[in-house]
Symmetry: C2
Subunit: 228 residues, 2 copies
């Protein structure tokens, strides 16, 4: 465990590019293209399998009073990948070691797997919005000081986009609606049901899982566009 | 090894449904919807990782005079999943056991992996049409009687559709062009670069890999449509 938390993340490269691009168009006296008129640049990130835990679950797995240590800050403010990982044990006694915990703690326990992970371990993980875990499969987690059996919480996260209300207004979408994500490149693909999540705390960011990211061959240079 | 080859595959359920649907519309005196006017029904199949081998490679791995034994006939006439499998050894000494061989033998050796497989083993597998293996990574294969080092041949197969010339005419596409595959359901997704392969020997069939199939959550009931 690191004793000093990592420095807060610097602005994302795409944020700086977005600002510079707008200034350049203005300086040249040219009309802004649609992507540059957007309040925020579009960031598309691949979420590898991970879990969210309650403070009680962290204590069961890591010991009384234990608190998650930030290892890396994520793009959404205050969210981090923790130093801590757990072992996930599936119904066929297959395991995934080093399942990363994302912090801060939440008020429910949830394991998010790609479909390939779920099939490999033997979970029938339904596609759900984060937090909507009623009736989903349970699992066993193992930490350095204890086991924790979850009665439910194993999901495949629906591909989704975090939006600030300004982003939602720009794209003309509402919370809980769907938008298309068009991905270019040699494995060009359009995600036709990208769930829209809106909060004043959110920055514009698409989350897809590793199956989705690998299927469309997403790299830092892959062109991506949200299409209402 | 089975000594008696499996019976040739019965007509695919979708083929029978296609014929019955056309007859019903005719009997009812109703115009055929576009999907029913197509020469063939659309079959979408997920190809798990596999390899194609030359007769010489089969002899190196399985012994002199060895011939692949059909385990299961595939939808394309004469193609089969063999009883034989090999072990694939990647550059990080990680392995995939039980990599299925597809028969009959070809005039080149080729390993087709999903992107997730390739990343897990440490291959930088480019997206290629089958047979286009120049400059792709090599690998080591292990069979029951020997090893075989391939200097090249590890690819991620481009998502593609096999078409009879009648299908190509119906959809208005040419060999080597691209068509869209629209997949419905809770993970609705459109593949925007589905490579068109045409031969009088082909029946209409889309092949996607396990990443792509898992990303769009393909099941036997998932609605799929080719869109030029």
């Amino acid at each position: 465990m690191s004793s000093t938390p990592p420095a807060p993340a610097a602005p994302h490269r795409a944020e700086i590019e977005h600002v510079v691009r707008r200034l350049l168009y203005q300086r040249l006296g040219q009309p802004l293209p649609r992507s540059a008129r957007a309040p925020r640049p579009l960031i598309v990130n691949v979420s590898a399998r991970h879990c969210h835990l309650t403070p009680q679950a962290v204590e069961t797995l890591f010991g009384r009073g234990h608190q998650l240590q930030p290892k890396k800050w994520l793009y959404q403010a205050g969210q981090f990948a923790a130093e801590e990982t757990v072992t996930l044990i599936g119904p066929r006694s297959r395991v995934i070691s080093n399942l990363r915990i994302l912090g801060p703690c939440r008020d429910l326990n949830q394991v998010e797997l790609a479909n390939t992970d779920a099939i490999s371990l033997g979970f029938e993980a339904p596609v759900r919005a984060s937090g909507d875990i009623k009736g989903t499969p349970g699992c066993m987690l193992m930490g350095p000081v204890g086991f924790l059996e979850l009665p439910q919480g194993v999901i495949r996260a629906a591909p989704h986009v975090h939006m600030h209300p300004d982003d939602a207004a720009f794209y003309g979408v509402k919370p809980g609606s769907f938008i298309h994500l068009r991905v270019g490149g040699p494995c060009a693909m359009t995600f036709d049901r990208m769930l829209v999540r809106v909060s004043p705390d959110f920055k514009l960011e698409v989350h897809i899982d590793t199956d989705e990211g690998n299927a469309c061959g997403l790299t830092p240079g892959t062109p991506c566009e949200l299409v209402p």
